[in-house]
Amino acid sequence: MTNTPSIITVSNVIKQFGRFAALRGVTAEFDAGRFHAILGDNGAGKTTLLRAIAGLAHPTSGTISILGKTPRTACRDIGYMAHPSLLYDEMSGMENLRYFAGLYGIAGDDTCREAIASVRLDPTLTRPVGQYSQGMRQRMSLARAILHDPRVLLLDEPFSNVDVHSAREMVGLLKTMRDAGKTIFVVTHQAQLLEGVADEFVWMQAGQIIDRTSSARAAGVGPTEGVQ
């Protein structure tokens, strides 16, 4: 079998949007099979970094390698979730997942049903996703992201505007997945939710990683509240 390296490498990535540099030379290695929480103020570059790892934002310079492959080649190993639901509002949960499963070459309804059940939603619900509550929509979006059993999960603010109960359930699910060997990246403003669950906390500011700690309450440079 091929010897695939077990890390995700970001090498001096710069991402420029005109006059604004969202990422100003980020270099880091992330161990596989670990839960990484990415924290920082608005505008720190967290979302851009996540999107760059997902292959949705092409770096202006620098490279990213996931398990030895480029983000786009590694697409089967990546599950991505963002604040927009990435779902069709007009279709039910099962219909949505059935369609997205087709994109990954997954036939049959069983995988979809399992994914929906694992996020504690009802697969038989025929209500269109657009009528879900925010918490339900986020969970369905997570179901879509894990549908194809990816090795790496990239979640951008999965708990925002979600009730505490749903958020804790999602964290529990993510913990189970990490224990099963998946690599998880979560961008969030709610570091306290992940205390004791995440393996490390990556602090970003102004387009760079400024600290990496094992606890959300660790000393060192932490984010200040409020918008930059």
């Binding site: 990435l86 069709y88 070459g105």
Partner: protein, 225 residues
């Protein structure tokens, strides 16, 4: 190859199902098409002979405007909730998405044309002097010419400001040879004025060239960032 068509069909079926569920867009487009025909009829009220001469142009300009309305909503559902990101992150071939959207638009625009054409025939007392059956390949090739580039430029224009105006702005110049071919061919058939073969061949060439270009460059557009 298998997965290419599977994804294309799945996407096309999904789009048709969604369009059917909320017929709002379709209904308003149908009504718009009707309005276009009526306005043209008021503006150009010629004798039967004259109308046969200009009908080719009128019909296709009418179709062009109606198709822009249809093309502008090609990616509307994908833009809501950023579904396109889900597509880009998946291993599904981008061309499957493009072909599905283009076919969906082709069906939609054909429906609009099927509504408008009889109205034009009625309002202008049209009757084909030449071989009327040739209007079918002209219709199919002409519609595909508009739809294939239209779907492509719709994808380009969603990445711009003023996206609704960008689509026709990009589409119309590029479509000029195709529109000329459609109009001339239709006029020749209606007037019985010689052979439309050159124009049909030109339309076919246009379709082949630009379908290839669209298929070759859609992935670049989809991932442009």
């Amino acid at each position: 190859m298998n997965s290419l068509w599977a994804v294309t069909l799945a996407t096309l079926k999904k789009d048709i199902r969604l369009e059917w569920r909320s017929k709002d867009a379709l209904n308003s487009m149908l009504f718009f098409s009707l309005l276009v025909v009526v306005i043209f009829s008021f503006s150009f009220d010629p004798t039967a002979e004259e109308s046969r001469q200009i009908a080719g142009g009128l019909v296709w300009v009418g179709f062009l405007f109606a198709s822009v309305v249809a093309l502008n909503q090609t990616w509307a559902r994908e833009l809501r909730n950023q579904v396109l990101d889900a597509y880009r992150v998946s291993p599904a071939p981008p061309n499957s998405l493009f072909v599905a959207k283009a076919l969906g638009n082709f069906i939609l625009v054909s429906v609009l044309e099927a509504v408008m054409a009889p109205l034009f025939i009625v309002f202008y007392n049209l009757r084909a002097i030449g071989p009327a059956w040739q209007l079918i390949p002209i219709g199919v090739l002409g519609t595909w010419a508009l739809v294939v580039n239209g779907t492509f430029f719709a994808a380009v224009s969603i990445r711009t400001r003023s996206r609704e105006i960008m689509l026709p702005l990009l589409l119309f110049p590029i479509s000029i040879p195709a529109v000329q071919a459609m109009v001339e061919a239709t006029r020749i058939i209606l007037m019985g004025d010689g052979s439309a073969r050159f124009w049909i061949v030109l339309l076919l060439t246009y379709d082949v060239v630009f379908t290839t270009a669209c298929l070759g460059l859609f992935e670049t557009i989809l991932h442009a960032e």
